[in-house]
């Protein structure tokens, strides 16, 4: 199984998890299915750049994943309503469901099914759809990169800790210099009074 993501350098290997059968991502939360094993090194390097163009990707077995947006995959217009998305998804899900796929093309159909699934999940959630549309206009086709989205969010979250740790240090630093000088705020005056009265 490969994903339609090509990191910046064209020498990077694409990643295949041939025996892995992915489950699906649920809902709007940050919970995940079992993550596939990954090759060391190259994936994370490619991920940390914040934008890269993706077009068609050819994996080692020669399957071509679709290029283009979720809208094209579902066959609806970019302004499609929730009902249209749902209908398109249901049709395609029924078509590509592994149980009903022709036996020689199970792998491809399964992958298509996952893609359709992801398209539906992104487009049916208005918040995520808004983000996706925004990325689309910026020319980022982060297609079928469920893995990448997960890692992005992971990065975001790990970035949060750095951020607030810095903020706390800054708060401590500021509190040293607070309450000095003229034009004290009301709170500063009260703090000063309290400090003076506790010294006495």
């Amino acid at each position: 199984m490969s994903f339609g993501v090509v990191p910046g350098s064209s020498n990077q290997a694409l990643h295949v998890w041939p025996n892995h059968v992915p489950a699906t991502r649920i809902g709007g939360g940050y919970r995940w299915r079992v993550a596939p094993r990954r090759r060391e090194g190259s994936w994370s390097a490619g991920l940390s750049s914040s934008s890269f163009r993706t077009r068609a990707a050819v994996d080692e077995r020669g399957f071509v994943t679709a290029k283009g947006s979720f809208y094209e995959l579902l066959g609806i217009s970019e302004g499609g309503s929730y009902d249209e998305i749902k209908k398109a998804y249901k049709q395609l899900a029924r078509k590509y469901h592994p149980d009903v796929s022709p036996p020689d093309r199970t792998e491809e159909y399964t992958r298509r099914f996952i893609e359709v699934q992801e398209a539906y999940e992104t487009l049916s959630d208005p918040g995520r759809r808004a983000l996706y549309d925004r990325d689309l206009t910026r020319g980022l086709h982060l297609a079928f990169s469920t893995r990448k989205r997960f890692d992005e969010e992971l990065e975001d979250r790990s970035g949060w800790r750095d951020c607030w740790q810095d903020q706390i240090s800054e708060l401590k630093r500021r509190s040293m210099n607070k309450d000095v000088g003229e034009n004290l705020s009301w709170g500063a005056q009260m703090r000063r009074q309290r400090a003076e009265s506790s010294i006495e």
């Binding site: 059968v21 940050y30 079992v34 607030w164």
Partner: protein, 709 residues
């Protein structure tokens, strides 16, 4: 690897409902976790009652650690690992208790870690913790000595569903309406400063409550006064109630939510920060000040309008923080607590509503408010009734009116489900406006719409409209703009208690010079009054209806009511000696009282006033002329319908004769939460009370006592 099997090996299930997502919920902070996920792993939340296969038990879940905690002081020496276990046990305890009593589930589940961290880091009750709205305070109540009373939640003489000062010293401020916490916290902080004390003051407010103006008024003042306090924004991206409409999740209303979301993507800032750090390293150590300045400006530039909004108001912004990570929360709270002279600090915590209970996480409304339910399946026990709620009837009536009149628009304040306007928005998506929790703005917004020739219907609960009273007077009534107010939850409301009780709306609406004030006595009347309101186009009008279901009268054809003649009531039963003149839902109690009285051989007249303003004077005159006693009955406070009748009678000379007039109104006090029947009993407005009043005025005290026993 058994748990990794996806849905399409079980073709009968729809893939999107597969509950394998319980494998997630892992700490997202390191890539190494992904490898661990390959092994079978129990979901870290709700450990206590969650079996290996993710089932919930309907019996009381085992909570060994929680059993040792009666008050926050017992939590002081727990390690982070124990705090996490405590949070899990607390979660299962909440699910268990709310399943038995009903209540607000999703919000409480979202703040479990935050509550545990707060009580661990701070010393309540000396340190004041204020919960905005208070419906998320169930974990707080459990941890502050009220766990054994949880089975009485929202029942008569039991725990309130919100924070209440008279209930416990740990509840610093009573709440029920939103967005008051920061104001109250600032008051407590300033009071502490004036008294020379040293405790901490913390306000916890949600992103929904942040859409109200009062929150900004408070932050503006807090930034100016610079008193030490902490504001925690509990951001779960749910701004309106329910968090979805009938067809699925809806994006939050308002521009603020997207600003808050932008704050959560820290990547560009981090990159810039890395660059800046590299640069300062090269420049040299003494450039520390400069680097800090760069940091400050960078934050302002990169984070966009989000954090600078709070910073400009004078609050120090920290965040975003993962609200389900105990480590992070405890660290931050302890650090902020230990820093002296901070001024106001704003901590942006990101949580998930309903977290830890998969049915809630998946539900469109995140199980915000639930009836009793079965924890194992998530199914709520809703009794089936023959009639629908007044709310639903109102929505149907409005839809029917809007079908024929394209100028009709509807406005609500973050209460699409509670007002029934979710039905309206499904039918007319462009004609329904959710303004967020901003009733004052909603009213003036409606006034503006009316200026342009539209016909706005403001659907705001009776008690929530109190907040917008000046706008009703100054913007609507004074200028005589035809805004229609549909006041749901009028009268006593049951389990939500006095904060949500709509007892004052007759009083405060009927004293306004230009307002038409009416109340339906049953659902058919409601349909007609919606039509009447739609037809009144030269002045403002309002109508009130209670919480609860209809009585079962036939509905008008096609849900389309017929406008009533303004200022005309009706007589329902012709009798003698005593006339019961009811207003609104009280008419039903009058009818029941009449049948009670009938059993003792007296047939009384029952009339439905329909309009409080303009009053049906002819009806009142005729009732006074032909009866010895006139009793006016309403489910409202003093100064309402009865007072208007008395005023008219006095001015008309009707009190100068032999007729007696007696009012029956809500008592002069706040009625605590309980079942609607209990509350009515305490108010003295049950049919029994009315019947007993009839007899006691007539001097037939024996019959009065018989009825009341």
């Amino acid at each position: 690897m058994a748990l990794a099997l996806p849905a399409f090996f079980f073709p009968s299930q729809k893939p999107s409902l597969l509950s394998s997502h319980w494998l997630g919920g892992a700490d997202l902070h390191s890539y190494q976790h992904q490898y661990r996920l390959l092994k079978t792993r129990k979901k870290p939340c709700v450990g206590a009652s969650l079996s290996e296969r993710g089932e919930y038990h309907s019996q009381r879940p085992p909570t060994p650690l929680l059993d040792t905690i009666n008050f926050p002081i017992h939590m002081k020496n727990l390690s982070i690992k124990e705090l996490k276990q405590l949070a899990d046990e607390l979660r299962s305890d909440i699910i268990f208790h709310v399943s038995e009593t009903g209540g607000h589930l999703g919000s409480s589940l979202g703040v479990v870690e935050l509550t545990v961290a707060l009580h661990h880091a701070f010393n309540a009750p000396q340190d004041k913790i204020l919960w905005d709205v208070g419906h998320q305070s169930y974990p707080h109540k459990i941890l502050t000595g009220r766990r054994d009373k949880m089975p009485t939640l929202r029942q008569k003489n039991g725990l309130s569903g919100f924070t209440k000062r008279s209930e416990s010293e740990y509840d610093s401020f009573g709440a029920g309406h939103s967005s008051t916490s920061i104001s109250a916290a600032l008051g407590m902080a300033v009071g502490r400063d004036l008294k020379g004390r040293k405790n901490n003051v913390i306000a916890v407010i949600g992103d929904g409550a942040m859409t109200a103006g009062q929150a900004y008024e408070a932050m503006n003042n807090a930034g100016y006064l610079d008193s030490d306090m902490i504001v925690i924004l509990n951001d779960n991206n749910q701004v309106s109630l329910p968090t979805a409409n009938l067809d699925g999740p809806i994006p939050p209303v308002g521009a603020l939510s997207s600003a808050l979301s932008r704050l959560q993507s820290s990547r560009p800032l981090r990159e810039l920060r890395e660059v800046a750090k590299g640069v300062t390293k090269q420049i040299g150590g003494s450039m520390h000040e400069l680097a800090a300045k760069v940091d400050e400006y960078a934050r302002g530039m990169i984070s966009g309008s989000g954090s600078t909004l709070f910073e400009e108001l004078g609050l120090y912004y920290i965040g975003p923080v993962d609200g389900h990570n105990m480590d992070d929360l405890v660290t931050i709270l302890k650090e902020v607590k230990s820093t002296k002279t901070t001024g106001p600090v704003f901590i942006h915590v990101v949580t998930e509503k309903g977290r830890g209970y998969p049915y809630a996480e998946r539900a469109a409304d995140k199980y915000h408010g639930v009836a009793k339910f079965d924890p194992a399946s998530g199914k709520q026990f809703k009794s089936s009734t023959k009639t629908q709620s007044y709310t639903k009837y109102f929505a149907e009536a409005l839809i029917a009116e809007a079908e024929v009149d394209k100028d009709i628009v509807a406005i609500h304040a973050a209460m699409g489900g509670g007002t029934g306007l979710n039905y309206f928005v499904r039918r007319f998506p462009a004609r329904c406006f959710d303004v967020g929790i901003a009733e004052q703005h909603a009213v003036t917004f409606a006034a503006g719409l009316a200026c342009e020739g539209l016909k706005p219907f403001c659907a705001i609960y009776s008690s929530f409209l109190q907040r917008a009273y000046d706008q009703v007077i100054h913007d609507v009534d004074l200028q005589k703009l035809p805004v229609r107010f549909a006041m749901d939850r009028a009268g006593l409301v049951g389990a939500d208690g006095p904060t949500h009780c709509g007892s004052f709306d007759v009083t405060y609406m009927a004293c306004l010079p230009n307002m038409v004030v009416m109340a339906p006595s049953d659902e058919a009347e409601l349909f007609h009054m919606v039509a009447t309101a739609a037809a009144i186009d030269d002045r403002p009008s309002c109508f009130r209806y209670p919480r609860g279901n209809g009585v079962g009268v036939p509905l008008p054809a096609g849900n389309k009511g017929v406008p009533l003649e303004v200022g005309k009531g009706r007589i329902l039963i012709e009798g003698e000696r005593v006339a019961l003149l009811g207003y609104g839902a009280a008419v039903q109690a009058c009818l029941a009282a009449a049948s009670l009285v009938q059993q003792h051989g007296l047939k009384v007249t029952v009339a439905d006033a329909r309009f409080c303003k303009p009053l049906d004077r002819a009806l009142v005159r005729s009732l006074v002329k032909s009866h010895e006693v006139l009793i006016t009955v309403e489910e409202g406070s003093i100064g309402g319908f009865g007072s208007h009748v008395a005023q008219f009678m006095a001015l008309d000379g009707l009190l100068d004769g032999t007729t007696k007039w007696r009012p029956m109104v809500l008592p002069d006090g706040y009625i605590d939460h309980g079942s609607p029947a209990d509350q009515l009993e305490e108010a003295g407005l049950t049919p029994y009370h009315i019947a007993a009043t009839v007899f006691s005025i007539l001097g037939q005290t024996r019959e009065a006592l018989e009825i009341m026993s």
